[in-house]
């Protein structure tokens, strides 16, 4: 079982991204949970969302305490929230930043852990013309999950989720953003 924690701000779509991830995993016949941490916060407030992904049924119904992967959707949260909380040396960090993994490691004095970075903000601005980094961050995470779920399944799920709600243009921009981040994410 892999446990994932998302850090984002309200309105950035992290909950949706976490739901799409769970959906895609389940589509492929595996097990997953997506569990937002609901509060009374409104747009802009830092929030967390969780995923569990497994080959076997998941019976846990509690918060993710010790995530294997932490996804940081908004780079400004690196200073604002204790994103390393509950992680051990083996944890993986997937961070939206224009910096390299090494620069992040030095700047935030991170020991151990594996760091991946992707400039999801840039991808979002170029493809979506809006700072909606959830889908690119999902693309990056899929890459980091290393074959656990097929990006094609994720693509299909995005189409299903957004299909009725957005225009053809917006949908294809999201799909492009997904694949770009999937390609552009860099590890150490």
């Amino acid at each position: 079982m892999i446990e994932i924690r998302w850090h984002a701000r309200g309105g950035q779509g992290a909950v949706t991204a976490s739901k799409i991830l769970a959906s895609a995993v389940i589509e492929e016949g595996k097990y997953a949970q997506s569990n937002p941490d609901y509060g009374a916060e409104r747009s802009g407030a830092p929030l967390r969302a969780y995923n569990r992904v497994s080959e076997k049924p998941i019976t846990l119904h509690c918060m993710v305490l010790n995530p294997d992967i932490v996804v940081i959707v908004d780079p400004t949260l690196l200073k604002a929230v204790p994103f390393l909380e509950g992680t051990d040396e083996n944890a993986i960090l997937v961070i939206n930043t224009d910096k390299t993994p090494n620069e992040i490691r030095e700047k935030y004095k991170i020991e151990g852990r594996k760091i991946y970075t992707v400039d999801a903000t840039k991808i979002a601005m170029e493809e979506l013309k809006r700072s909606l980094m959830n889908i690119p961050m999902l693309g990056a995470l899929i890459k980091v999950l290393n074959g656990l779920v097929d990006i094609k399944t994720v693509e299909e799920d995005i189409k299903k989720t957004f299909g009725k709600k957005v225009s053809e243009n917006v949908l294809s921009a999201n799909i492009r953003a997904l694949y770009r981040a999937y390609e552009e994410v860099k590890g150490e």
Binding site: K19, A22, S23, V25, I26, E27, G29, Y31, A32, Q33, S34, N35, P36, Y38, A40, P57, I58, T59, L60, H61, C62, M63, L65
Partner: protein, 402 residues
């Protein structure tokens, strides 16, 4: 005619709310009257969407309050139609008066309760104070561990409620947010199979039968009231059998077993935790972990049926184990009582068999307070101490800031 959407068994990523709404779509009740309340709102919205797109034949009444939701269900059920609703926490509290009317009038209304804490202080998160507060209102009460159970339970309880031996309303609880809003893998059954399983409602004393006019909800004075209450007790005792029968029928039809309780690894257990709702899942995980890592033999009794309470099932499972002590997890308070409501029931169960085990109660998860692996471990640790003869308080709190 509404379209057939699901033609074969399908696995979907659904929230508890979506799963419950999907079951309602497949059940296709005649009347749904509901009022939105967090964390049930999504369920009602899903169902409203089905209505808006012609996927159900139901008359949908977007009432102005929960009191009216249940009142309209009473009117609809007395009119010989299949009526459903859903609510949460304060909404259930607001329905309270009509809950007893629905059961007293023997109307087979089915309701999802997305379990939510009661005010004050106001809190939108999960706990079971709402249903536990309504536990003697004459409703059959089930709790679901996860989204799929909520779905399966809804399909089963239509038959349980409408059986001539019961004719009682049923509420099924699922924990707010943790289940209602989390996406999980849910097995959906084909539309046709569900339709066939739930069957047709046989109206009794329908208000719409103008050729045989009846009076529902008459005054019963001191000379007859008690007889009707005695009938309700009988119906609830019948429900015990009917729930089991329908569970068996469900297993035969769909290959998944449902009993009053789920005894998880209790056969050889030295220690037993009794729990209901989503925390049962977390507890099962801990049981596996402790057995694997430390060789501690713990078992779980998950209560699915809370009313009628399965006293004998609980005791059968305990007596068949090596139980040395029991811990009871309650996600609701009984202020001034010994521990929580579930604790009281397990104590009664022991008394009915004249078999007594050391037991201690745990209050957990109030207002959505997280109950994780460590907290369950902490509870088991206390139960082990109790078994070893150490002094353990009657009521303990998990994850409380002391």
């Amino acid at each position: 005619m509404r379209p057939e959407l699901i033609k074969e068994v399908t696995y979907v990523p659904y929230s508890g709310n979506m799963a419950a709404a999907e079951a309602m779509r497949q059940i296709n009740p005649d009347v749904v009257a509901a009022y939105p309340i967090t964390p049930q709102t999504e369920l009602m919205q899903c169902f409203a969407d089905f209505v808006a797109n012609g996927l159900v034949d139901s008359e949908y009444i977007p009432v102005e309050s929960e009191h009216s939701a249940m009142s309209a269900c009473v009117g609809a059920a007395a009119a010989g139609s299949r009526a459903m609703t859903a609510t949460a926490g304060p909404g259930l509290a607001y329905m309270w008066e009509v809950l007893g009317i629905a059961s007293g009038m023997r109307l087979p209304i089915v309701m999802t309760v997305v379990n939510r804490a009661l005010s004050a202080p106001i809190n939108i998160h999960g706990d079971q104070s709402d249903m536990m507060g309504a536990r003697d209102q004459g409703w059959i009460m089930l709790f679901s561990e996860n989204a799929e159970e909520q779905y399966d339970n809804l399909i089963q309880v239509i038959r349980i409620a409408e059986d001539e031996r019961t004719r009682l309303p049923v509420m099924i609880g699922m924990d707010g947010f943790v289940i209602s809003h989390a996406i999980e893998r849910v097995r959906l059954l084909p539309d046709k199979a569900v339709e066939e399983f739930v069957g047709e409602l046989k109206p009794m004393y329908s208000l719409l039968d103008v050729d045989n006019p009846v009076a529902h909800g008459a005054v019963a004075m001191t000379d007859s009231y008690m007889e009707f209450k005695r009938q309700q007790r009988e119906a609830m005792m019948n429900a015990y059998k009917v729930i089991r029968e329908v569970g068996k029928a469900f297993e035969e039809a769909f290959g998944k077993k449902y009993e009053h309780i789920e005894a998880y690894k209790t056969e050889d257990a030295d220690y037993i935790l009794v729990v209901t709702g989503s925390a049962a899942g977390t507890a099962k995980y801990v049981v596996d972990k402790l057995r694997e890592e430390k060789g501690i033999k713990v078992g779980i009794i998950k209560i699915r049926t809370f009313r009628p309470f399965p006293y004998y099932d609980v005791m059968d499972a305990i007596e068949a184990s090596n139980c040395k002590a029991i811990g009871i997890l309650d996600r609701a308070e009984t202020f001034g009582g010994a521990s929580g409501p579930l604790f009281e029931e397990v104590a009664t169960a022991q008394h009915l068999r004249r078999k007594y085990y050391p037991m201690t109660g745990f209050i957990y998860g109030l207002g959505g307070r997280d109950t994780n692996v460590h907290h369950i471990e902490e509870a088991i640790d206390k139960v082990m101490k109790l078994a070893a003869g150490e002094e353990v308080p009657l009521v303990n709190y998990l994850n409380l800031k002391e």
